[in-house]
């Protein structure tokens, strides 16, 4: 547990909660990233596309500005090849579209609405992620 960061992670979580609350208070929308992104490709309404794109621009800029002031690096991962990234990305996109949400939409907004579907989805993807990481570690031998 040498990389445990309870304070910054809690603070980051609180900011994410403020984000989800703002989007509901102002626009009446769930702050689910997969849903927001999927909706850009799914709608022909300009207004729908506009707020969704604006959210993504804000998301990317917010992280960029934070990293500008507090830079950090990511340790390179040998077994994560381009092929694995493509496969993983495809599965994440397909799975979140099929399951109707990801960590933010189901995990944060859904649980906060006490949605049985979201609570179930969150337990399912957490469990499946844990199993996957376990299997990968056995295969890679790390």
């Amino acid at each position: 547990m040498e990389n445990f960061t309870p304070y910054s992670s809690l603070a980051g979580g609180i900011l994410i909660g403020i984000s989800a609350s703002l989007l509901m208070y102002l626009n009446g929308r769930i702050a689910g990233i997969s849903g927001i992104v999927n909706g850009i490709m799914n709608t022909s309404s300009f207004k729908e596309k506009a707020w969704r794109l604006a959210f993504i621009v804000g998301l990317i800029s917010g992280a960029f500005v934070y990293a500008y002031f507090f830079p950090s690096s990511v340790e390179p991962r040998e077994h994560v090849t381009t092929g694995l990234l493509v496969a993983g990305g495809l599965i994440v996109g397909f799975g979140t579209a099929m399951g109707g949400g990801c960590t933010s939409g189901h995990g944060i907004c859904g649980i906060s609405r006490f949605s049985l579907r979201s609570i179930t989805a969150t337990m399912v993807f957490l469990l499946s992620g844990i199993i996957t990481v376990y299997v990968v570690k056995q295969l890679v031998g790390a």
């Binding site: 994410i16 989007l23 929308r29």
Partner: protein
Amino acid sequence: MAKAFSALLAGAFFGVGLALAGMVDPNKVINFMDITGNWDPSLMFVLGGAVIVTTIAYRFIFAQGKPLFEGDFQLPTMLKLEPKLLFGSSLFGVGWGLIGYCPGPALASVGLRPDEPIIVVVSMLAGMLLYRVVSK
């Protein structure tokens, strides 16, 4: 315009939150799922902090009856736990565990590193489109 600006603002909070929480580092995310190895429980604090704030705020927001810039709240109406939800979520977990990126952190990392995130984001978009084609 107001709606796009509020989405931009909410997105910025989300992006800063993910970066501050350390969720833009896929190694940290994978360590959270590595419960039998080098476990890092930080992500529970991210989820916990976000859920506590959102649960409390939603109560007040829904009590207002309607959002500020829209006629209605747009909430999911489906209640059934259908196979699609379970199968889709299991798949998502597999992808998440393989690479350590879920949709939010993948997008938020696009401006931080030139290599992994853009590959993940493009593949993720392709996966979403693929599902749309397959599900028709």
